[in-house]
Amino acid sequence: MQFEETLKRIQTHKGVIGTIVVNAEGKTTLDNSTTVQYAGLLHQLTMKARSTVRDIDPQNDLTFLRIRSKKHEIMVAPDKEYLLIVIQNPSE
């Protein structure tokens, strides 16, 4: 319940285009093909980012990943097993 409420609050935040929750294997809670594409690509990128951070300093770990493009801002909050991805349109 709390999960749904919070997720809804995030989804209705100003400028948010989409939210995806991904688990370790790259599976999503939605079947939309764009979502699946996003999920897979971002999962790979997050893993690469995490390994980069760890390679530089083994004591370190990735806490937040933010990709700013011309059109959108993609925010990824990683965890050991899951990823929370939020796509926002920053100009609104």
């Binding site: 997720l7 935040h13 294997e25 760890r54 925010m75 929370l84």
Partner: protein, 582 residues
């Protein structure tokens, strides 16, 4: 080096012990076992036969020399005990890296990962052709296992969602994401404007004037007209708006003043004040940050204090002949920190000056009459920058008057005629700079025009005739010497820049729904404009930097512009005079 036995002098061995001694040396085996057997068999002290073969024993135990077979074999083999030195070679270290790539390739079940896996399989298959079939089979099985759980069933989903780890993750992740979402800082902003070149049309239009906030309150401002606006001198984000009565709600107070806050995103007013009579003018008391002054329709002047918890005024002027008995359209606090007065003028021409501590009686009052008989129906008032004595007033009959408060000629001095309708707004030039333009002022009127005047001449310098409706208010920019804003009844907010063009406004925006805009006020920074409309809404616009920020040469350019305007005016008048004569 062994002791070389003297063979010639050797004596035969005499076995002392009975044990058999087997000596394994790297020597050729004794040719005949008879010597040994002889030793063992006899066991007697007598060695027996004179054997040609003799074993020479060296009694010294450290060195032993056997010279068996030496005669027989005649080889002269010498055995020596060698000193053994321990040498230990460490095993050859094979350098190996224990790091592995951390991107596990086998856990990717995504469709894109599948071809990668297949490629791997192919590579693996090549060097081991013999086991190809087996590997393929194994991989296919793996693939099948991975493909199967790709789509989560509802049950699995619900299970996952309620698992502890998921909830912990989501709690943390959503918290961070919400914070990040709310940050609206644009780190990629390019001040050089190169970004803006890409998005030409939109940005340029928006760069002139853009709506920043719209303030209105369901209960207090709906169905009321905004009668006055003022920005706070202490807190640049505070704005007071006064409203007249709500005809649809007779039980609500007739007069309302709301203090709005620009800094925060909340949509409700900071402070709500009301009083019994419609408020026609309001102002922040300049040297008292907590006080808001209001002039009402009944002639009363009210004072609200935001330190008190009351929404009703803390002080009121009396409704008597010594004060005002007509609507007060102008209130202003003039002077310095130590010597200031509240000036109020009502529509019957009476001007009173008050002390903010004591509103029970005016300190001074003055009847503004023109030519000793005609009372001036004052609708607007303005003080030039830095002046506390001289001021200008606009009246309902379309004329503008200059007046002084004190001195021998207290009262109306000059009349400026030019407007054909009641004067609705007045503004004295207030942008300080290298050149002093404080003799300039502008007036707005019902005759659809805005006129530029100088106190040195009773005829208008210029008339701005771009509007198609009553012009309700006008104000000079506090920072830019050649810029002023005006609003009219068709919902238009115009910005005029005298240095650019005097024929048309430099920027113009039309408010949604085209309500009549009653008031316009520049913020003290000169970057924002607030307008109040007839629907009770206060709109705050951001003015683009290119327009509102003055360049260093604006003052000198204005001098030239004024000279031009003057010349044109004189020419125009000459032509008119010639025509009259002719």
């Amino acid at each position: 080096m062994g002791i070389a036995p003297d063979i010639t002098n050797a004596q035969p061995l005499r076995v002392i012990t009975e044990d058999t001694c087997l000596f394994h040396y790297l020597v050729p085996a004794p040719m005949s076992p008879s010597a040994k057997s002889m030793c063992s068999e006899t066991g007697s002290q007598d060695s027996g036969d004179g054997n040609s073969r003799t074993l020479h024993w060296d009694p010294d135990p450290s060195t032993l020399q056997l010279h068996s077979d030496s005669d027989l074999l005649g080889r002269g083999l010498r055995l020596g005990m060698a000193k053994v030195t321990q040498v230990d070679f460490p095993p050859k270290q094979s350098v190996s890296y224990s790091k592995e790539t951390q991107t596990p390739t086998c856990t990717q079940t995504h469709t894109q990962a599948k071809p990668a896996e297949e490629e791997e399989e192919e590579e693996m298959a090549e060097p081991k052709p013999a086991e190809e079939s087996q590997e393929e089979k194994a991989d296919e099985e793996e693939k099948q296992e991975e493909v199967a759980p790709k789509d989560l069933t509802e049950e699995e989903k619900m299970q996952l969602l309620h698992s502890e780890e998921f909830m912990a993750f989501f709690d943390r992740g959503s918290r961070i994401v919400e914070r990040a979402l709310s940050e609206r800082v644009d780190v990629c902003f390019d001040y050089s404007g190169r970004d803006l070149e890409d998005k030409e049309g939109e940005m340029q239009a928006g760069a002139k004037m853009s709506l920043n906030r719209a303030f209105s309150d369901e209960r207090w401002s709906k169905n009321r007209v905004v009668t006055c606006l003022d920005w706070s001198p202490q807190y640049p984000e505070l704005l007071v708006a006064s409203y007249n009565n709500n005809e649809d709600a007779p039980h609500e107070p007739d007069g309302v003043a709301l203090v709005w806050n620009m800094k925060f995103k909340k949509t409700t007013p900071e402070y709500t004040f009301h009083c019994q009579s419609a408020v026609m003018s309001a102002a922040f008391a300049r040297f008292h940050p907590n006080l808001v002054v209001g002039g009402t329709y009944s002639g009363q002047i009210v004072l609200w204090d935001n330190r008190s918890n009351k929404r009703t005024p803390v002080q009121r002027t009396p409704l008597s002949a010594s004060a005002h008995t007509h609507p007060v359209y102008c209130v202003n606090v003039v002077g310095t920190q130590n010597a200031h007065n509240l000036i109020s003028i009502s529509t019957d021409g009476k001007m009173c000056s008050w002390s903010l501590d004591m509103l029970s009686q005016p300190q001074d009052s003055l009847e503004l009459v023109f030519k000793q008989s005609k009372a001036v129906a004052v609708t607007s008032m303005a003080f030039p920058l830095g002046d506390v004595n001289n001021f200008v007033v606009g009246s309902e009959d379309g004329s503008v008057y200059t007046a002084c408060r004190h001195g021998s000629k207290a009262g109306i001095s000059d009349v400026f005629e030019g407007h054909h309708g009641p004067v609705t707004g007045l503004s004295c030039h207030s942008a300080g700079g290298p050149v002093d333009f404080s003799h300039l002022f502008i007036s707005a009127s019902f005759d659809w025009t805005v006129k530029l005047w100088t106190t040195k001449s009773t005829r208008p310098l210029y008339s701005f005739e771009d509007s198609c409706d009553y012009v309700y208010d006008v104000m000079w920019s506090p920072t830019h010497p050649a810029l002023f804003a005006c609003v009219d009844g068709s919902g238009r907010l115009d910005l005029w820049n005298l240095n650019n063009d005097t024929e048309v406004p430099s920027a113009s925006v039309c408010v949604n729904g085209s309500p009549a805009l009653n008031r316009v006020r520049w913020a003290h920074s000169g970057r924002e404009i607030a307008t109040g409309d007839s629907d009770g809404q206060v709109l705050v616009y951001d003015v683009g930097e290119q327009i509102c920020v003055p360049k260093a040469d604006e003052w000198t350019r204005l001098v030239h512009t004024l000279v031009e305007i003057n010349e044109n005016r004189d020419e125009g008048e000459e032509l008119a005079a010639q025509r009259l004569v002719a």
